[in-house]
């Protein structure tokens, strides 16, 4: 608790040792706190590392321009997530336009041709687990995860609600997670180390 009394010079008071937090420092803290989370979020939408990085960078440049108007960290966080979301949707839209006009320039899908025996076994297990899903659930899951369709597109194609798509996807993930519990732990080591 601090006591503020009139006439007490600031130099002698306890405040002198207190931290001075200019907005630039709050901005930097915000960057280190949210950069990876925002990158992860952007990646889920654009599915591309370089684009995800550019999106998050642009969002932070925009935040910098608005640093005097936005309160840190609460409003800044919401601003960043919203900006990343819109930039990611724009990126996808531009990509579609580009692919329509210049189909030759569409990136070639990455094909991993050399599979080790272990990878082949893992892929077979995954295929089995997907095949074992209930039919509607499997259909939703394959359309979303393997064909990259949007929830709204899947809902229209299958004549179900978007909420039902969400439920099927949740169920599929849960069942796959149970089926492939032993593999999941190995993948974490594989992916994150």
């Amino acid at each position: 608790m601090i006591l503020i009394l009139p006439g007490q010079p600031l130099t002698n008071s306890a405040h002198h040792k207190q931290v001075y937090i200019p907005v630039e420092n709050l901005y930097k803290q915000c960057f280190h706190e949210y950069f990876e989370k925002l990158f992860g979020y952007a990646f889920t939408i654009v599915k591309d590392n370089a684009e995800a990085r550019d999106i998050v960078q642009s969002a932070f440049v925009k935040l910098w321009e608005k640093r005097g108007e936005i309160n840190f960290p609460g409003a800044a966080r919401a601003y960043l997530y919203t900006t990343v979301y819109h930039l990611a949707l724009n990126t996808i839209r531009d990509r579609k336009i580009r692919e329509r006009h210049y189909p030759d320039m569409a990136p070639v899908a990455h094909v991993n041709s050399i599979d080790t025996a272990q990878e082949k076994e893992i892929k077979a297990r995954i295929q089995q687990a997907i095949d074992a899903l209930p039919p509607r659930c499997r259909e939703v899951f394959c359309k979303s995860r393997l064909e990259g369709k949007k929830y709204s597109t899947i809902a229209a194609e299958m004549d179900i609600s978007v909420k039902t798509v969400e439920v099927h996807m949740g169920k599929a993930l849960k069942l796959l997670r149970e089926q492939l519990a032993d593999l999941a732990s190995i993948w974490i080591i594989f992916l994150f180390l």
Binding site: I2, F35, F43, K47, R53, I126, W187, L191
Partner: protein, 334 residues
Amino acid sequence: MNTANQPDMTELIGKYLAGEANPTEAMQLDDWLADAGNAAEFQRMAALWHQLPGETSPQPPASSLAWTELEPLLHSKPQRGIVRFVFNRYVAAAVAGMLIILSVVWFNRRGKESQADDPSAYVMQTATQEIKSTTLPDSTFITVNQHSEVAYAADFGKPDRQLSLQGECYFDVTPDKQHPFIIQVADLTIKVVGTSFNVQEITPSGHVTVQVQSGVVQLYALGKMVTVQKGQSGFYHKQLQQLYVANSIDINSFGYATRSFSFNDIAFADACRYLEQAFHVSFMMDKQVFAGCRLTAHFDNKPLSYILDVINATLNISSRQEGDSVFITGNGCH
């Protein structure tokens, strides 16, 4: 935590991984991931997801590396603006338009300033001996301490809510994003985002203390800005040319406005000092006798007589108020 018992989280995770989560959902998921158990479960799900054919996995660059890439962009921004400024004649035309508008605004403002001699253009809320509480036209509630003055234009709120302060005042500001609430104290500008806080200008040393009880305020001075959040204090020191933020407030120091005090095992003499400031009274006692007394008590909007009764009972002393003086007698504490 086991997601098997949380169908909603599995759905949200599915949505997130499929790139269908909106910003609110993404933030909700990130909050959920703050728990280490949840984060481990999410990593398993994500690993499974990325292991399926046809997708690359996310590889975030280290945030320190990303920062070194970002930093030059932040500082080169204004320079790029200037280059465009010179070569783009459409921008030049726009600037000419701006100058005209600006000069009109400037002349308007000059017009307003010249009204400063006309007292009807300004409303003064002045407290001399008493403490004055009043409601502003935007229903903001203010408490002006002794020897303090708040002044605002007669057309307060158009376009923004500007006022100036000399001395000390407690503000409970009505939120209104369309009309920013701005307080000028000497050369410090305080911008408010719906909040209650206390501003104290200390003369002659010339420093200003802003203690924020709820909401957020921004302080502008010396070409810098600091944001003061709930529970923090902002300090502006003119001579030292410094703007600080401290992570605490002293709610007892603005008891004159809130009549609320929180004494946690503090020296009785210090409690008396707070009460003296808040109620503008003087405590008369033999300081040696009461030197060992400490007080723990909480008061929420109570009159001085009530507070004195509680202190009498707690410390086994007697107090008597005569005008602006409070006389304390008793055997002290051991």
